[in-house]
């Protein structure tokens, strides 16, 4: 069972709610501040992607879901939507830095279709004490 399950309307003002919730979870689980910063930034980027890209602007059932589970020394976070799915051009172009940033902050990341093929989910794995990096600062 997950440590945290958050369901919110996919609205810009709720990205900060997700960020605060995941930060509180990291605090509650005793994550060091450096690892917490990485989790917070990556989750913020993933949630922003949902708000900007997942739904048509007029959608009234747009939802943002965040689920997090701690296993051993890892935190698994999934950010999920029930939107149009991958590969649909939304017309809301960004800088294209979100996913590379997430990849840089995580130990592992996978972007895939959501349950029953609906929407998209991005599954991120974070290390509590990441020492795998090649530059000595905890980042790969």
């Amino acid at each position: 069972m997950s440590e945290l399950h958050l369901l919110l309307p996919a609205a810009p003002e709720n990205v900060v709610v997700a960020r605060q919730a995941i930060t509180g979870l990291c605090e509650g689980l005793g994550f060091p501040s450096r690892a917490t910063d990485d989790v917070r930034l990556a989750v913020t980027e993933a949630c922003t992607n949902v708000v900007v890209h997942a739904y048509a602007p007029e959608t009234t059932t747009a939802q943002l879901e965040v689920e997090a589970s701690a296993v051993d020394h890892e935190l698994h976070v999934t950010v999920r939507d029930q939107g149009r799915g991958m590969g649909v051009f939304t017309g809301a172009a960004g800088l294209g830095l979100g996913l590379p940033l997430i990849a840089a902050l995580t130990r592992a990341v996978e972007m895939r279709a959501g349950p029953d093929g609906i929407g998209t989910e991005i599954a991120m794995t974070f290390a509590k004490d990441d020492t795998d990096g090649d530059d000595g600062d905890g980042r790969a």
Partner: protein
Amino acid sequence: MVTTAMVARSSVQTTVPSRIEVSAIAAGPVLARVFGIVGARAGLSLDRVSDLLLLADTIADADVHADARVGVEFAITDGQVELLVGPLVDGGAEQLTTSPTVGGVAVLPRLADQVEVLGTGAEARRVRLVVA
């Protein structure tokens, strides 16, 4: 372009509720942070946001939550924060509204403007709180 899309989404009224479920071990810091940002967005005074933070601690610390998971649905309506706490264990609603005390005075009614137990008897498994 990103800003335009964000603004467009922000103007749409959605039917999706805001709900958080968190394991008891991490409920304190999670609820405090979420309640704090929700209170700020509702435009509550600093005193009332502080009361929300105390509510978060009180709710998180209470041993009344079903399956050891703290569930709260929250909404901002007309400048007030509405919280729906539950599901709770049998008798948990009564316990939550009366048992946490300071100097013999129940905490929740002093912190929230409205406290309402939803359901009766063993079916009373949710508590509605309003902070304005």
